[in-house]
């Protein structure tokens, strides 16, 4: 075999949603596609098929990606209706709402909690802290969120903040921004065409795509065609492993809602409110809110679901238009087969409880670029790594999302009761939770490369929901109560000092739009 002829020269990415442009951008950046000697990346998207149009929450890793790709945070904020996200506020997850409990919420914060070098967590568990929430014991960010403050100051440069933050964004505008940046600055080629069929050779490699604008050939293909999964699904017939036995929600009813008045304060966190057969997301962008009810059609029907959403929105008249999206939860048996890799909804999907869509697509796009082979001979090894890590990532995501349901104490409907049946959780999650009945989670529990959710994430959710870890068998290890109390006081003082310098959320966004953020 002529080694030179099997060298990869051209990549085609199919699909122009956020996953497609993230994949194209990461590849072009890593491979240096601006240079004509380097591997070239072309993105083909349909001018007719709309993108999914939701997917508006992110996690802090997106900042690293945007900075790495060379996108200006100022441009991003101005173009994509961006607001800052510091947390997900979970409302009514632990217990069903009633007139007695008014503070039935907890924050899953982005800030790393105060657990190193001294871990405050066991002391919070063992002692009464005057009703101090776990999040407020270990971090300042919860207070900042509750006060409606922004996570950064005008004097901090792009991508820097006083707290860890991510964004809420308009998915369509984000794809448009990435398009511009990828084409103008990263050397990605853009082709509008409808893909009709893929040609596959005897070895199972895709050789070219037949479109309404002609035939396009390449050495490697990335399937970012969404739920349609034109390549990985339709062409290569990789089965989809569905996970509805663990995560029940199979529909989302999405609505875009205008603000009642100009200047309405915007929360700098996503709100997730648990409901009878699922939960409602509520994301504040600059010009509108994005909301939706994620529910299981086995535990409710579409009419009732619409009622629940409209009740939440205060829209008894039914003026707000809703869009029903069917959600297939699960992932492909393989994500990289021969010369084709899937990124995005074609790869897998889980209900957006922890903003995992963009998270996993960004992380796997980065991984694809990092692992990208130079020749066909290297495919098998790269694919093996990619498949293992991606599968692990999805399994861990499913476990973490399931956790929220599994440790809830809601008894009000079958949906909630059935969610606690052991056959609906993975063995891994069950084993972890069993161990955590008498000890805290620790770093050893999160040892793989693509854990996605680590110790700190589990701590926030477990103890935000008052998981009954009983440390009495270990109590003698936690004798330094004075130090723990001092640390909690330090957290409180740091919070107060930080709060002095921060503006209300909307005010900061307005100033950034006006003055921009400095690069240094």
């Amino acid at each position: 075999m002529n080694i030179k002829s099997s060298a990869i020269r051209e990549i085609i990415v199919v699909g122009g949603g956020t996953a497609g442009w993230l994949a194209a951008s990461h590849l072009a950046k890593k491979l240096g596609s601006k240079n004509s000697n380097a591997i070239q990346v072309t993105l083909i998207e349909s001018p007719d098929i709309p993108t999914i149009g939701v997917g508006e929450g992110t996690v802090p890793a997106i900042r690293n990606s945007l900075r790495y790709l060379g996108v200006s945070e100022t441009d991003f904020i101005r173009a994509c209706d961006v607001t800052f996200k510091q947390s997900i506020k979970f409302v009514d997850w632990e217990k069903a709402p009633s007139h007695t409990n008014n503070k039935n919420y907890y924050h899953h914060l982005f800030d790393y909690p105060c657990i190193q070098p001294f871990d405050v967590s066991p002391y919070w568990l063992l002692h009464d802290c005057d009703g101090l929430s776990y999040a407020d014991a270990v971090a300042i960010q919860g207070r900042i969120c509750d006060l409606g403050l922004a996570p950064k100051k005008m004097t901090q440069c792009e991508y820097e903040g006083s707290t860890q933050y991510a964004y809420h964004l308009d998915a369509v505008k984000f794809a448009a921004l990435l398009t511009q940046h990828a084409v103008n600055n990263l050397g990605v080629k853009h082709q509008l065409a409808n893909v009709q069929k893929a040609r596959v050779d005897d070895a199972g490699n895709i050789t070219s795509l037949m479109t309404d604008k002609g035939e396009f050939s390449a050495d490697f293909f990335v399937d970012c065609s969404g739920f349609s999964a034109l390549l990985i699904g339709d062409t290569l017939s990789i089965p989809f492993i569905q996970k509805h036995s663990e995560l029940f929600a199979d529909y989302a009813l999405a609505a875009q809602v205008p603000y009642a008045q100009e200047g309405t304060p915007i929360p700098s966190y996503t709100i997730s409110t648990a409901k009878e057969a699922g939960w409602i997301w509520d994301i504040g962008l600059t010009s509108r809110r994005g909301t939706g009810y994620v529910y299981s059609s086995h535990y409710t029907n579409h009419e009732r679901a619409e009622q629940v959403l409209r009740e939440y929105l205060g829209d008894a008249q039914g003026n707000i238009s809703c869009r029903k999206i069917s959600m297939r939860v699960g992932y492909r048996e393989k994500f990289w087969v021969n010369n084709c890799a899937a990124i995005g909804l074609s790869q897998g999907f889980v209900e957006p409880l922890e903003a995992t869509g963009l998270l996993v697509y960004d992380a796997t796009a980065r991984m694809l670029a990092d692992l990208f082979p130079a020749s066909e001979a290297e495919f098998a090894w790269a694919a093996k790594q990619f498949n293992e890590h991606t599968r692990n990532a999805w399994d861990k995501v499913i476990d973490f999302v399931k956790l929220h349901y599994f440790i809830s104490q809601r008894e009000d409907t079958d949906f909630w009761r059935d969610n606690r049946k052991t056959e609906t959780a993975s063995d891994r999650l069950l084993a972890n939770l069993e161990a955590w009945r008498y000890q805290l989670p620790n770093d050893y529990d999160f040892s793989s490369r693509m854990e996605i959710f680590n110790l700190e994430n589990y701590l926030y959710v477990l103890y935000g929901m008052n998981y009954p870890t009983d440390l009495s068998s270990r109590q003698s290890r936690y004798a330094d109560t004075k130090r723990a109390q001092e640390l909690m006081r330090i957290v409180e003082r740091k919070a107060q000092s930080c709060i002095q310098d921060l503006l209300p959320h909307r005010e900061l966004i307005d100033r950034i739009k006006r003055f921009g953020l400095q690069r240094i």
């Binding site: 004097t155 901090q156 003055f515 690069r519 240094i520």
Partner: protein, 231 residues
């Protein structure tokens, strides 16, 4: 501390101004300066850029001390340095938006200013209630400063946009005390030296070269300012 209201001869006809009094800046260790002043300032004081805390935009300043709230060049109410930065000179007068028509600017006076008194100094208004020559000169200087400020601001943003500024942390010691100055930005000499021919020409055409070199040279004064004593 400040009580700035529109200047009116009905209220302020009897006031005299002693503009040698420097109390209003005795606690300011950094003072805003215009790019136009860099050459003059650079022969005595270190010039750095800082970020405006409300807007994050860069502002050129001279340093008159290395400790917060310590201006070494005001002693016994007098300026003991050589050059007096322009922004210091205008007190107690300020340009302010006209309360009746915020698009317009008018001259305001800080009634709490230590420069105001009834006996010593120069009058604002003559006996017949007209602007004194002194005040006319002050007014014109204020307006000139305002106009130059717009230009200076624009050019400063241009320096930032050209990536010619770099964040610097400065460590000094004197009197066996150590000082850490952070949050200041200086001209990035490496970047300056690696500008393309086109970029360099643009910088030159905007008249920025003297200011750039003045800032670079002025930083030598930091140690002298740290050690400076007025008495």
């Amino acid at each position: 501390m400040t009580a700035i209201i529109p200047l009116q001869k009905e209220l302020h006809g009897y006031i005299k101004i002693n503009d040698r009094n420097m109390d209003h800046v005795q606690d300011q260790h950094i003072i805003p300066i215009l790019l136009h002043e860099f050459i003059r300032v650079s022969s005595e004081y270190p010039i750095v850029f800082v970020k405006n805390s409300d807007t994050g935009q860069f502002q050129s300043v001279c340093m008159l001390g290395v400790k917060s709230s310590e201006n070494k060049f005001v002693h016994n109410q007098l300026w003991v340095g050589g050059y007096v930065p322009l922004s210091v000179r205008h007190a107690p007068f300020y340009l302010m938006p006209d309360p009746r028509n915020p698009e317009q600017l008018l001259i305001g006076i800080n009634e709490a200013s230590p420069r105001i008194n009834l006996e010593n100094g120069v009058s604002i208004f003559t006996e017949v209630g007209e602007e004194s020559e002194y005040f006319t000169a002050r007014k014109n200087a204020l307006i000139d400063h305002y106009e130059k400020e717009q230009v200076s601001q624009e050019l400063t943003q241009f320096l930032a946009a050209m990536n010619l500024l770099i964040r610097q942390e400065i460590n000094l010691s004197y009197n066996s005390e150590n000082f850490n100055i952070n949050g200041v930005y200086l001209i990035d000499e490496e970047r300056l030296n690696s500008l393309s021919d086109d970029e360099f020409l643009t910088v030159r055409r905007k008249g920025l070269l003297p200011a750039i070199y003045a800032q670079m040279i002025s930083i030598q004064h930091l140690e002298r300012v740290a050690n400076f004593r007025a008495f």
